[in-house]
Symmetry: C2
Subunit: 388 residues, 2 copies
């Protein structure tokens, strides 16, 4: 019983990630592989670091790719910066904030949550209130909450946290490459992202960056980092130090990220953010034409829309029907399951073509379920945004 030839369907990926990678990224994957200690590969790692610093808008020497997916980035920040008993404040306004709480808790740190209902934003004032009660070593938050579509006020939270002497940890998994992320300007001490959303690569790598303050805190730990795989002392010995063996880094995955970063910087960060903003505007115009509403209460992210499922429309059959047309969107998380869709407009799909394909398919499946306003109106509204 041998497996048949690999033949996956060709999806338009409009969920919260992965998004469709650039074809140039796929081509880079087939390049001949290199050993993880080959001088030619070490030179490529340096190049990728330089490009990552540009994309993160940072001068941090300690910038790298982690050999795992985006979830690992938050874990790496937590296990390196926290020790059992440390005080940490985690801001949560959705699934990924709750997950950050869970990842911080598993380090044995004393986690204090600053929580608001799903879909809302955490203000600097809320964080300050908690810091006034008791200081904290670390304040962590999610920049772009993928589960609710809300943009959190990163600069505001970071300013307050720094004022009270805390290290600032940011999950920018969904924002990096699609909207402004300014590590140094905002005063972020540790940030991590992923390769497969707005950066336009494939999944499998987590870009991350650490300020001198963060590195100092890691060097001053009393105990060893509980994970060898995420131990930044060892990782930076490989990336920036004696080049000692730590793990067998995949040249293939680094090629993919390198090509994605080249494309990002060729386009230019500002132009890329504008392209995402325009696609967002077009998609929101389409939603409005269909009389669909957005769940999010605070500032809505350009790159992910959490849309209320209208009454009478059945989530699972609709998404199954979309998939029959090779269009993927995602359902809601946790309390939002069955009530919302999560729709991503990221990377190569932040374009007129992809937004129109998505809206056209959505109009069709909504009509099939008896939800019907004015057929074609959504596509027309989106197309209008792209006129002249």
């Amino acid at each position: 019983m041998r497996l048949p030839e690999l033949n996956p369907p060709v999806r338009l990926l409009m969920g919260p990630g992965p998004s469709n990678p650039d074809p140039r990224v796929l081509r880079a994957l087939t390049s001949p592989i290199l050993g993880h200690l080959d001088p030619a590969f070490l030179a490529l790692m340096n190049e990728v670091q330089d490009d990552l610093r540009q994309v993160f808008q940072t001068k941090n020497q300690h910038t790298l790719l982690l050999s795992a997916t985006g979830t690992s980035g938050v874990e790496t920040m937590m296990v390196n910066l926290l020790e059992p008993g440390d005080e940490v404040i985690i801001c949560s306004s959705g699934f990924f904030g709750q997950r950050m709480i869970e990842q911080a808790t598993r380090t044995g740190a004393n986690v204090r949550a600053v929580e608001v209902p799903f879909g809302e934003v955490i203000t600097g004032a809320l964080v300050e209130e908690e810091l006034k009660k008791k200081p904290a070593k670390v304040v962590g938050f999610v920049h772009a909450e993928t589960s609710t579509g809300a943009l959190q006020p990163a600069a505001e939270i970071a300013a307050v946290a720094r004022q009270y002497g805390a290290l600032v940890v940011m999950d920018c998994v969904t924002s990096l490459g699609g909207l402004p992320v300014k590590i140094d300007e905002w005063g972020i001490d540790a940030a991590s992202s992923c390769s497969q959303k707005c950066l336009g690569s494939i999944p499998g790598m987590a870009p991350a960056t650490f300020s001198p303050r963060a590195i100092e805190a890691i060097k001053n730990r009393k105990s060893k980092v509980p994970s060898l795989y995420w131990d930044l002392n060892m990782l930076f010995n490989y990336w920036d130090g004696a080049r000692g063996f730590h793990h067998t880094m995949s040249s293939t995955l680094v090629y993919a990220v390198r090509e994605a970063l080249r494309i990002v910087l060729e386009e230019g960060l500002e132009a890329r953010w504008e392209r995402h903003a325009k696609a967002s505007q077009a998609f929101e115009a389409g939603l409005k034409a269909m009389e669909l509403s957005i769940f999010t209460k605070g500032p809505v992210l350009p790159v992910i829309k959490v849309v209320n499922i209208p009454e009478g429309v059945d989530d699972l059959p609709l998404r199954k029907r979309l998939l029959e047309m090779d269009v993927e969107i995602a359902g809601g998380f946790g309390p939002l399951a069955g009530k919302t869709w999560r729709i991503g407009i990221m990377g190569t799909n932040a374009t007129a073509k992809s937004v129109i394909a998505l809206l056209g398919a959505l109009e069709q499946v909504l009509a099939e379920q008896g939800y019907y306003r004015e057929r074609g109106a959504a596509v027309a509204a989106a197309a209008e945004v792209y006129k002249g």
Copy 2:
């Protein structure tokens, strides 16, 4: 300052891994990517599990790919099976045994090392001696010690460990796909490997398998697994359970492993082991013709040879010169640095062609350094093995 087009050199990778992947694996990488919850992708995951079970020679339901490199497999086994204060015996006869000790220690378990000098093997009797002193929850060992080239007696160690009620944990990073690995027959409770050595894929994934006994032990933990990313309860909920989101698994990397496993099973495990054994024999014949000796004291692995650097030969310049000819071998680890080379004959490179290319290049660089026996003798000796 934009980066130039990606243009890595085309190396013959004869170090301890990565090895050169099969061209079919590189082709699979360019397949259209799928979301991590797409039914088409979930079906592929099931296929990969079936193939992994065949390659591991196990019926374990709990068999999966971890989204990280081989080093993560050992960490995953340790953080799931051990809790602070647990008794664990780790066998060490080289760098990767010492590393397993380190990974076990970081869980907070009480680690007792059974150690022999680098290059030797650990007998069942040695393990029994330690178990007689005090029982242990887990006995861990490295099947193929990549740093010394020694094959450890897996079945013997496992039998003793089970006799004393311990769970048996095996690192088979270097052996899987290149020599017999028989999880069920030997009584192994947890084993992990990597994608880029004898399996012939690219780096970035760690295949792993867990017996019902191991899963039972994880379910009976008193504390949460300290890592969310490696938490097998959550991972198997994704792989085998409610298909709940855990991390954004890379379809691309799964395609690569799937294609590599297809190739392994098309060839057949026995035939593949024989091919590796023959390439090993050819390479050893070449070494003998050059009067080079093998460092390893115990049974020598077919897939990796740790070779003593002859007196008067300078390690780094020789390897640099080899790399100028696009041939990669590796230096020794730890106490063996500067004294040995580690040479891998794995996957696509366990062939006459690759062994002869390597021996020819080695003869040349050794001659350039004044180490000279009979030019051409090594290639001739290896070629003889492949005659008729």
